[in-house]
């Protein structure tokens, strides 16, 4: 209600105030300043709005004083003054002119109080002053502010700003800001029609709301019709944007799943070993990251801190890989061909690893900081992408490609493929199968550790970190097709995307449940996953 009153006040003020050039009439300004000293808040707000439209050189000083609580009315003559505390009394200056006005103790002054609504109003007005800043960045920000919070009171200022603006980027925004302000009230029918055209390509919820209001309430039929069709176009575009957003979110979730599962694609997919301690390999990678981070904090200059992740990646690979090799040599190799026993034994190892970490690092979450270069966001075709999402997607891709290249071209990779395809033949050709087993398992575990570095950036680093990923990563590998690296990639990505597309309808938890149910049903149809090996020798 008070907002509407204020808006009306502004309209009235606009009718009487000459649409001023840069330097406004001092008398009108003085009258508006005097208008601040009134009992009712709406009337004060009206005066603030008037000040905003006048564009006088002292507007900013007065409004700032009002917002800071240093604007007073002298009780004896109701002169509006700005007071600065010096000793026991205030030294005063006239608000309208800036001329010194003596001093007075606080008892002789009445503070002019601004309520929250007025503060917001003042902020908008002050913000608009930046439209005339010498810094183009400031001007853009000011124009965006008008655009995101359009108000008829801004029309005059924006028009003024447009007269002098030469920067095309700023001009474009100012034109949109003007259109939004005109549409909020005050524009003629032609102006409003043009405004609808100008704003028809928006994605902003605030502007969409403005157009929606126009479509419903505008006095003119043609404007309403134009707004209605513009609204439909906006909504169509928003649907696509929404899908794009879901796709990016899905890819980023898919990358997290992929990172969690990729090590398993080696140990389970290639070797056929059910490693229930896989999640703990991820957890070890995350804790390695934490330790490296602490070391950087303690021993290296702060400007190198951003590089700690780069160091953590190889460290995590080595730590998790070494634990993996130790596991394979001490336990798993005695259980080849007994998958269910392997499952139980590795589960036991996972419990011990969790407890070992809990005993040495404590049960609570450890804080792993995102380095500065990973925070922030960028705009891409109207989508807002956070940098850490993009980094994770790129990192996952890099890990997969590196792994695929290693398996394909390195001598070790050749040995690994030979041993997994035909163990006895490989042994007969002189490949040390035991060592290859250990190294293959170590590779899978090391990759899981590397994944832990990335996952430490998106989830809580605690001893139970790995537990949260174990079901998901097995699902990804089984869904994608055991033994197929690309199956794992496609599996992870499709599960991530399906999940994110379900989420808006069902909520995050239900989406996850639905995805699990989908996989369980899918496995009934294709027990060997998306990219299944088929043939007589697969049993």
């Amino acid at each position: 209600m008070s907002r509407i009153l204020a808006a009306l006040g502004v309209l009235v003020a606009l009718m009487f105030a000459p649409l001023a050039p840069a330097h406004a009439d001092d008398a009108a300004f003085a009258a508006a300043v005097a208008g601040l000293d009134q009992k009712s808040f709406p009337k004060r707000a009206e005066a603030v709005a008037t000040l905003g439209t006048l564009g006088h050189a002292r507007t900013e000083t007065v409004l700032r004083a009002l917002a800071d609580g240093t604007l007073f009315a002298r009780k004896e003559d109701r002169q509006v003054v700005i007071g600065r505390l010096s000793g026991d009394a205030y030294s005063l200056s006239d608000a309208a002119t800036g001329a010194p006005a003596g001093s007075a103790p606080s008892g002789e002054l009445a503070k002019i109080i601004a309520n929250n609504q007025m503060r917001g109003q003042i902020q908008d007005i002050l913000g608009r002053f930046l439209l005339f800043s010498t810094d183009a960045e400031d001007r853009i920000r000011a124009a965006d502010q008008v655009l995101s919070n359009p108000d008829a009171s801004a029309v005059a200022q924006v028009r003024n700003a447009l007269k002098t603006e030469n920067e095309p980027a700023v001009r474009q925004r100012l034109e949109r800001a003007l259109a939004a302000a005109l549409l909020s009230g005050g524009g003629t029918t032609e102006e409003r029609l043009a405004a609808v055209q100008t704003l028809g390509n928006t994605n902003e919820p605030a502007l969409r709301g403005l157009i929606q209001r126009t479509a419903a309430n505008d006095a003119d039929d043609a404007v309403r019709a134009a707004a209605t069709s513009a609204l439909a176009a906006i909504d169509r575009r928003l649907v696509f944007l929404d899908m794009g957003q879901n796709l990016v979110f899905g890819l980023s979730l898919g990358s997290v799943l992929l990172l969690a599962a990729i090590g398993l694609a080696i140990t389970f997919g290639v070797m056929g070993v059910i490693n229930m301690a896989h999640g703990e390999m991820i957890m070890l990678g995350a804790y390695t990251t934490f330790v490296v981070q602490q070391a950087f904090r303690a021993y290296l200059p702060p400007d190198l801190f951003g590089l700690y992740l780069v160091v953590a990646v190889p460290m995590a690979f080595v730590v998790a890989g070494a634990v993996g090799v130790a596991m394979e040599r001490s336990v798993i190799r005695f259980l080849y061909g007994r998958p269910l026993e392997t499952l139980l034994a590795t589960w036991g190892i996972s419990l011990m690893l969790q407890q070992a970490i809990r005993s040495s690092f404590g049960a609570t979450n450890r804080e792993v900081a995102n380095p500065a270069w990973m925070s922030g966001a960028m705009d891409f075709l109207g989508l807002t992408l956070t940098t850490n999402r993009i980094v994770i997607i790129i990192f996952a891709a890099a890990v997969v490609l590196a792994l695929a290249a290693f398996l394909r071209w390195s001598a070790m990779g050749l040995n690994m493929r030979a041993v997994t395809q035909n163990r006895s033949m490989a042994a007969a050709m002189g490949i040390p199968t035991g060592r290859v087993d250990a190294l293959t398992f170590g590779l899978g575990s090391g990759i899981a550790g590397v994944a832990g570095v990335a996952l430490s950036q998106v989830s809580n680093v605690s001893p139970s970190l790995g537990q949260g990923y174990i079901v998901d990563s097995f699902m990804v590998v089984v869904f994608g097709g055991v033994g197929s690296l690309w199956g794992t990639v496609v599996g992870a990505m499709s599960l991530g995307i399906v999940n994110k597309f379900l989420e808006p309808y069902s909520g995050a938890v239900l989406a996850k449940i639905l995805v699990l149910v989908i996989i369980i049903l899918f496995i009934q149809k294709r027990p060997r996953g998306l990219f299944a090996l088929r043939g007589r020798f697969v049993e």
């Binding site: 090996l533 088929r534 043939g535 007589r536």
Partner: protein, 249 residues
């Protein structure tokens, strides 16, 4: 389709491929009731895949597989095919190692197959007699109460043949029944099979030419998934193409 009528097994134009490799290539074969047929062929000729197709383990890509002149085996489950009277012995003897010899035969014995019924099923007197008879035939009476896992390789082969007998099938498929047997055992097995074939149809896949000679049956030579030659052993041994396949040139 005219030949299907009256046959026990009828294969026409059956093809199976695994990832581009053609294991069976338009294979056609007819087995008459009461016939003993030996199938030979080099490794990878498709012998095992053919048995897989007949018993429902593998579905053919194309082709007809008819049992008893009318039942389409490609539409039946392994269990149904077994119940209809097709028994199979595997190349590698597979008996139930943690069950006794007697229990192995009990499970194979023709009769009740429904889940709830077998929960309450009891052996009748005649069924016990039948098992005793089979035990005698396969010379394992003395070891009836022992776990099948303790048997020697040859004995396991015999137990598997015994299980086939207990199933009382109309058509038996035997994949290398004498592999790993001593000469004496091989001879006894041949005798047994010839006896069995008097009452039912038998298909034997074998490598051992001496054994094939003892069976004295019609021989089919498979090569690269289809029939290369068919006839008496002497006839196929004289065939140019067979010699080429076996000796290579």
């Amino acid at each position: 389709m005219r030949e299907a009528h009256g046959s026990i097994l009828y294969l026409d134009g059956v093809s199976v491929s695994f990832d581009g490799f053609k294991a069976l290539n338009s294979l056609s074969l007819i087995i008459e009731p009461g016939e003993l047929r030996t199938i030979i062929g080099p490794n990878g000729a498709g012998k095992t895949t053919m048995m897989d197709v007949i018993t429902g383990k593998t579905r053919p890509d194309v082709g007809a597989v008819l049992y008893d002149g009318e039942v389409d085996l490609t539409k039946q489950s392994e269990e149904r095919i077994a119940i209809m009277g097709i028994g199979r012995k595997f190349q590698k003897p597979t008996v139930f190692e943690n069950l006794t010899v007697f229990e192995n035969l009990e499970l194979a014995l023709a009769g009740e197959r429904r889940t709830f019924a077998v929960l309450f099923a009891q052996l009748s007197g005649t069924q016990r007699d039948r098992i005793a008879e089979i035990l005698a035939t396969i010379r394992l009476t003395a070891r009836a109460g022992e776990k099948a896992g303790t048997l020697s390789h040859g004995q396991k082969q015999w137990l598997e043949i015994g299980m086939l007998l207990a199933q009382d099938p109309r058509l038996m498929l035997l994949d290398e029944p004498v592999a790993g047997m001593t000469d004496a055992e091989t001879e006894q097995t041949a005798e047994l099979l010839v006896g069995i074939a008097k009452e039912r149809s038998v298909i034997v896949v074998e490598h051992d030419m001496e054994f094939v000679r003892t069976l004295a049956s019609k021989v089919t030579v498979l090569h690269e998934g289809s029939v290369l030659a068919e006839g008496s052993l002497a006839h196929v041994q004289a065939d140019e193409r067979v010699i080429e396949v076996y000796l290579g040139r």
